[in-house]
């Protein structure tokens, strides 16, 4: 297990370095920051002076090194709009986004797993067909549209739930459902096919030969085996959820990272965008590391492999 852990950890570190390079390069590609900071009529000398002040006249590898050193201290520079550290800005908004993402993750995993198991056990029944139609429909609907429709029905027409904002539990329902819909569908499909495959496996036949009950076989043996592919995609699901909040947050005016990112893109607030991309990337990489470790816990072939 230790060897497996360190090999995964090494990969995570390499990925984080890769991400930092991409963030660094794309930010340089987006144009000269000094032109944005200085007045239109600034002289050549002023630009040179500004570039020197910001360290932009140094060779790229020196700049990259400095960038890394600063980032390591949580310093992504200052927001051009808010005039405060970009990292702090991101961290103040991150919790709201994580609340949304994790609530959706839990909802999609629980509902997707249960529906997938039921569909697999009642293969070719009307429940199975319903599950299939549901998952295709859910995966085909764009989330901004789903969000607006849910607001129209449950907030505007029925007045059951608030339209937007984040002032309490009731405010969670619509954005979480909107965000969870696609991952529910993908979890359902993967669980269903993994469960069908598992229930047809010879070792399940042998469990029946032993005289074990169907409930025991499904919930102890088949579920654990079917969980392997579900866990494999859960890292992707989390990435989808954290990225997906961008749209859902703007539909529901959710005061999270996604909304901040959208605003920053519109106002060309580069340090905030960089910090946002950097922080969420590292966060996702760490989550994926956790998923890999969970793999090892559940599957002995991974642990000893």
């Amino acid at each position: 297990m230790a060897r497996y852990f360190f090999s995964r950890l090494r990969l995570a570190v390499i990925t984080i370095l890769g991400v930092s390079l991409i963030v660094f390069v794309t930010s340089r590609m987006s144009g000269d920051v000094t032109l944005l900071l200085l007045p239109q009529d600034a002289s050549e000398a002023d630009i040179k002076a500004m570039q020197h002040e910001l360290g932009l006249d140094a060779p790229y590898y020196v700049q990259y090194y400095k960038f890394l050193a600063n980032v390591a201290h949580g310093d992504f520079g200052e927001s051009l709009r808010y005039r405060e550290p970009a990292f702090g800005l991101i961290m103040s908004r991150l919790p709201k986004t994580l609340e949304l993402a994790f609530a959706s993750f839990i909802l999609s995993t629980v509902v997707g797993l249960l529906m997938g198991i039921i569909a697999a056990r009642m293969r070719s029944s009307w429940i199975d067909y319903f599950a299939r139609i549901f998952s295709i429909t859910a995966q085909s609907m764009p989330s901004f549209w789903v969000g607006i429709m849910l607001i129209l029905v449950f907030a505007v027409q029925l007045h059951w739930l608030p339209t937007s904002g984040a002032q309490g539990i009731a405010y969670f329902v619509l954005p979480v459902v909107t965000l969870a819909l696609v991952p529910i569908a993908s979890t359902l499909r993967i669980t269903r096919s993994a469960m069908i495959e598992t229930l047809d496996a010879d070792y399940v036949k042998f469990l029946r030969v032993k005289g074990l009950s169907e409930q025991f076989i499904v919930w102890k043996h088949a579920l654990r085996n079917a969980l392997v592919p579900v866990i494999a995609i859960s890292g992707l699901t989390l990435g989808f959820l954290i990225g997906g909040t961008v749209i859902v947050e703007s539909v529901f005016a959710w005061p999270g990272l996604g909304n901040l990112m959208v605003e920053s893109i519109f106002t060309r607030d580069y340090p905030v965008i960089q910090a946002g991309v950097g922080v969420t990337s590292v966060f996702l990489i760490l989550l994926n590391l956790a998923v890999d470790l969970l793999f090892g816990v559940i599957d002995p072939r991974v642990r000893f492999g």
Binding site: D202, Y203, F206, V209, K210, G211, S213, H221, R224, P300
Partner: protein, 328 residues
């Protein structure tokens, strides 16, 4: 013969598989009848698709969902298994009737230790736990000659060889001292050197525990090693049944003869090619009216194509379904 000598009696068993479109019905087992005496070993021989495995699964009542026993009786200790509830059946499975599957590499759940999988039937049927369970498990592992059983019990299936796994599967199958053990191609997936070892083990377990055994195989060699009697199946029906010696020495059905002739002989030098039976097994969804073997049979007559052959007695306990046998 007193009926109490008979452990299992299968009467006119028919197991059909519904086609994908729900229209075509595949008659996988089509009217099979046989008896199994206590302590006896019966071989079911046939090609793939002959219905031999389906017969075994019908007895265990663990058929795939598309397959269904449509008629017949399976009397085990005089009780019809086909009318039992799923709960009653579950109490018999693993306890009184057990089974070894073909491929040991996929017979055990890869995510659980071998020990936890051996413990399951002992817990469920015997209510064992604690030290009694541990002792019984170690004893079972030793009975199938697994060295250092305590260590092996804590290991996972992927850490063991196929031969070792099949012995553990055997240990699980006999853990509750069943009366009937069905072995479905028990050595097919094993290396030839390990095959002989496993057959030895199966034989000694059978003799030590007074098991009645049904061996499903396509291999006459395996049947010759283990069986008292064999029944040869073709297209879902029994074509010939009798004591193993008689079937070997005086096969009467052309299919049995052809099967025996196709066994490669290691002493026969200079033969360039393997002998095979011309043609392919029939489509079980669209059987011809007469004998299903007629298209491949080298002594076929007009009657064979028209009428399914009746069963003819050749000697005591030796029967064959073939018009050729009639009047001989």
């Amino acid at each position: 013969m007193a009926s109490s000598d008979i452990l299992l009696q299968v009467k006119d068993l028919k197991t059909h598989i519904a086609g994908r479109d729900g229209q075509r019905v595949v008659k996988a087992v089509d009217g099979v009848s046989f008896d199994l005496k206590r302590g006896e070993t019966l071989g079911i021989i046939g090609e793939s698709g002959s219905g031999k495995s389906m017969t075994a699964l019908s007895i265990m009542r663990i058929l795939p969902s598309a397959a269904k026993v449509v008629s017949g009786e399976i009397l085990f200790n005089g009780e019809n298994l086909l009318t039992k509830s799923e709960g009653e059946m579950r109490r018999l499975r693993g306890e009184k009737i057990s089974m070894i599957l073909q491929d040991p590499m996929v017979s055990l759940d890869p995510l659980f230790t071998v020990g936890s999988q051996l413990a399951e039937p002992l817990r469920v049927h015997r209510g064992l736990g604690g030290t009694a369970l541990k002792e019984r498990m170690t004893e079972l592992m030793s009975s199938v000659s697994i060295p250092s059983p305590e260590l092996r019990l804590k290991q996972y299936p992927h850490q063991m060889s196929g031969g070792m796994l099949q012995r553990i599967v055997g240990a699980i199958a006999i853990s509750c001292d069943p009366q009937l053990l069905i072995a479905d191609e028990p050595t097919t997936a094993l290396d030839p050197t390990v095959q002989a070892q496993f057959l030895d083990l199966l034989e000694s377990l059978r003799d030590a525990k007074h098991l009645s055994v049904i061996v499903v195989t396509h291999d006459f060699g395996v049947a010759a090693r283990l069986c008292d009697r064999v029944m040869v199946m073709y297209a879902g029906r029994i074509v010939e049944m009798g004591p193993i010696r008689e079937i070997f020495d005086q096969p009467r059905h052309p299919y049995t003869k052809a099967l025996l002739a196709s066994i490669p002989d290691a002493t026969e030098r200079g033969t360039r090619h393997l002998r095979s039976i011309e043609g392919a097994p029939p489509d079980l969804g669209a059987l011809p009216p007469g004998c299903p073997f007629a298209p491949r049979c080298d002594s076929v007559t007009e009657r064979c194509r028209r009428e399914y052959p009746a069963q003819f007695q050749i000697a005591a306990g030796h029967v064959a379904n073939c018009w050729q046998v009639m009047g001989q």
